[in-house]
Assembly symmetry: D2
Amino acid sequence: MLVVMQSHATEEQVRAVCQRIESLGYKALPVPGAGRTAVCITGNSGPVDIGSLEAMAGVVECIPVSKPYKLVGRDLKPENSVVRVPTPSGDVTFGGKAVGIVAGPCAVETREQAFTIAERIRAAGARLFRGGAYKPRTSPYAFQGLGEEGLKILAAVRDKFGLGIITEAVDNESLDLVEKYADVIQIGARNMQNFSLLKRAGHARKPVLLKRGMSATLDELLMAAEYIMSEGNYNVILCERGVRTFADHTRNTLDLSLVPAVQRLSHLPIVVDPSHGTGRRNKVLPLSRAAIAVGADGILVEVHHDPSKALSDGPQSILPDEFDQLMRESRAIAAVLGRTLN
Amino acid sequence: MLVVMQSHATEEQVRAVCQRIESLGYKALPVPGAGRTAVCITGNSGPVDIGSLEAMAGVVECIPVSKPYKLVGRDLKPENSVVRVPTPSGDVTFGGKAVGIVAGPCAVETREQAFTIAERIRAAGARLFRGGAYKPRTSPYAFQGLGEEGLKILAAVRDKFGLGIITEAVDNESLDLVEKYADVIQIGARNMQNFSLLKRAGHARKPVLLKRGMSATLDELLMAAEYIMSEGNYNVILCERGVRTFADHTRNTLDLSLVPAVQRLSHLPIVVDPSHGTGRRNKVLPLSRAAIAVGADGILVEVHHDPSKALSDGPQSILPDEFDQLMRESRAIAAVLGRTLN
Amino acid sequence: MLVVMQSHATEEQVRAVCQRIESLGYKALPVPGAGRTAVCITGNSGPVDIGSLEAMAGVVECIPVSKPYKLVGRDLKPENSVVRVPTPSGDVTFGGKAVGIVAGPCAVETREQAFTIAERIRAAGARLFRGGAYKPRTSPYAFQGLGEEGLKILAAVRDKFGLGIITEAVDNESLDLVEKYADVIQIGARNMQNFSLLKRAGHARKPVLLKRGMSATLDELLMAAEYIMSEGNYNVILCERGVRTFADHTRNTLDLSLVPAVQRLSHLPIVVDPSHGTGRRNKVLPLSRAAIAVGADGILVEVHHDPSKALSDGPQSILPDEFDQLMRESRAIAAVLGRTLN
Amino acid sequence: MLVVMQSHATEEQVRAVCQRIESLGYKALPVPGAGRTAVCITGNSGPVDIGSLEAMAGVVECIPVSKPYKLVGRDLKPENSVVRVPTPSGDVTFGGKAVGIVAGPCAVETREQAFTIAERIRAAGARLFRGGAYKPRTSPYAFQGLGEEGLKILAAVRDKFGLGIITEAVDNESLDLVEKYADVIQIGARNMQNFSLLKRAGHARKPVLLKRGMSATLDELLMAAEYIMSEGNYNVILCERGVRTFADHTRNTLDLSLVPAVQRLSHLPIVVDPSHGTGRRNKVLPLSRAAIAVGADGILVEVHHDPSKALSDGPQSILPDEFDQLMRESRAIAAVLGRTLN
């Protein structure tokens, strides 16, 4: 932590800051600069929670130097974490050499719909199926998902097609059920800072796929993962799904630079959702290729056999034939990076 | 709803869109324009959920014309709603002629801290006390609030100083307790789209103060209020608290234009939080004046007698003396608009 | 400047950084922290341009401590600058006790239009007239302004109504003419980082009103003013006119917190343009009041007697009657802050 | 154009809007909807400039349906434009099957520096060299480029290494010189809406590379290109270089979805600058791969043999060895899309 003083700060003000720092059990080291003085804090064994210093007379700002996270960081664990998802057709991994492919409809609508899509996805070579049973919708009057009935359909998809299941939990109650029926528990963007839900996910015995909030910084995403890990669940997969900006040609702005940024700071795997990340069917294929090329550990893609009749997010779902092409091109690009699909 | 066709769309494509619209029970009216055709949808008795049209061949985009909300809108209720908060020293109202003032520390820390601040706030003329017992913190290692112990301190503040109490609930469990101890239930920015929590708040018998999410549009804020109202609780107060932008001179960018924008579309009262909205103590007073001047129905201000020792958000808390000045200036500006403080 | 090292940085890497710093003529002071080392740079007589350090092995980031501007800053000149604009009816000042009011149409369209509006503005008590002769328009096919013909109409407005004139220059050629005909040279948001134009404005002998770019940070705005001042023109007025964000209820998001932020760091006056800042007629009056209340040194308002026929920006122009009300309310709010209008 | 009326709009208000539309020479078609009426405008032969309608009584908003651009759009020219840049070693094309690679230092510093880098770039297989002779810098005290001296060095690079030259013009004067010495004229992000400069570029007889502004929408970028084309220069290459958002892990947020979005609406080629787009050396390689994978028609990359001593933007320049790897991986990914490098 560095405390920057005003250029007109008096010696007493600098001294008061140093005394406060030392009263908190740290060491204070004043460093005179070009016109203004800064005070370095040392002797701390972790992040310093002294925002209050910023309110002292003569202080311009406090600049944190150490990062606030521990368990998610490479400082603690330099090598990549590999999150393993068991499926009836073998383990799918995130964070290793293979790139994980997850596909399926936005929402589970009927058994027929789910089976039709699952069959095509399995045939294309994917082994993880996504589909919402609990849908966080902006409007209370929009389709909210089938609930446990949807989870049962997903379980039937697993049994019939050998696909692992990823589906979203929106509160503690639904998380209990999702943990029971699914293979990976998804925490959606709107709940990235629902700390109560994160803690509950930290007690789950299934891997958690954590989506970046619509305006979350990298640090906030990592801290949300830290919430889960600090409760004991180390199987966390991060997910970039687009952020909110002024740009209006896509529903969100997909921030692919997050992938190498996460990989530099954290050992956790990071995947990309180009469907929500663009909100436009005709951009899913090019951005999926880009996600593989940037080095993502996986992608989540919405596929629907009849998007114009989908109960939610039809405009961003691709057709099964397009998914076939996506798999072919993704496999070829992964090979350039020395990776395979799984 | 207006469906815009590509300029090269064929007649068959236009006809297919019209047929789909009519199969959904609406009327379709093709309107030829400069080079491209648009299809207007009429005969609908409410918002049309036909995003799927956007996926049809020849369609550029679907432009919604009607708004998706009902209960929050002035179409249904043209006159202002006045939300009444009973306190031991009389009702405080939001949405009427009087401007509601809410003040207190970010977090309840100790009985002494709460009492010291409450005494000063009451003396300055405010009648509503804020203070967090449950704190949503970015880090799992930061102070998370005193929980029910904090709520008991708040209840003691009400008894001793005659102040009404506003405090945040972060999940269904804490909402049960907040409803029991407090006079207004706050839903924080991070939970604005925690729909499970919004529905629970819709069953509460206390007013709800709903904060705008960090990157929420006006429509999304109104829809979040619609969630609460659609469950039966009509006593909703909206709150602008700053949004996330590229600007780095404040922690958030306070969007005061939201106040007249809400007032044009909705009958609900709208208040402003200049403390979180700026994150800097030296900006709270000027932005509080601006909030009153723009026409807000109230303000929420963080006050602490010793901000440099505050356990959270010290840098944005103002001192009791500054709060006295804030009350004086706010009262004078409210008078210019023909309003009083309460 | 603080150079933060990786937690796994070797001693040699730290030493190499220190050597580089000293080879640049500064002093290096390594400060061991919680797990990672930072190197403070001292002995510099101004901002350090050593971004290249960030590329060295073992370095995480370089954090600047000193600010890059000189002439605009309060470190050099602690007291407020007062910019004086001579008009036929006496000087108008920005930065002193009086708040400067500037009003007029978006674009000068005809002599009749300009005179009609000028008469109403003068009658309402304003003494500065704005109106564009050169209009930077997004489309090459939109009305681009009357050019020098428009400047002549503005000069006639000055003669007939005793109003000072503010109008925009868009390139070096138009700046020559604007300097000749007008009293204040406006640099628009799109040109805030047109450094060639800023330098030319730095040689002008008229005050410059510099608008914040659509996504400019506070530092960038101050640096743009520094460009003008570094060429010798110290009469610079800054202007907040809204920034670009995801919010869609206004055309831009007016960032009123910029006013106290500028006033803390710089001695230059800062005014607000609520017309471009919101883009909506019905928000101009409330945001004008808020701008005065937040402490702005002036406001720029678009007024048109027949906005529905305006050649540009009609939807954000207020009517002369609304301007009368704006003047009344602004005067009353200014009085609360101990200020007058001029 | 669609004019949406308020739900409480009177019949007279709707009639007044229709009359105004017809007085402007168009046809008005009122369409009753769910509670509110909309008026469609037809009979127009191009975009309607009637923003003034929005100011009429009873009107909520005007929604444009047709796009404002002509020359840049696929409506006018459905097939891709191929921009051809002649170099001593043969033409380089943008917009065809081959992907154009541009590389070089941020700024030309010395003949030795330019030659050293050019040699490596040529050896790696690139045929276009970039390097700034005129640098738009945020600070007036930072290195501003060598000017014409730098252009002469670039011309020498062309002669010696057979590389075509791309360099930035910042005003009309420098554009004259850049047109004389270089093969492609670059217009930087800060000048994307410097309409005076765009018009001048429209008269140049060399291709123009136009960078997206830091907060420019897709429509604004296309309209800026329209300015150039409307003056007669049809050889325009668009460039995504990152936009400004709240995200702080990169200097800008690279918006790769712009590539397919441009390709859908416009026939112009679109390239990507991952160096400015991320601002971090360690993200240039992954984002370059992603740019090729998303379908960009080219990339611009900053390369420096000694980034820690670069006079500008050192932290985002990659080393010649890294550029070799970039070329190899880009070539392999381009092949997946059936493209080559040139």
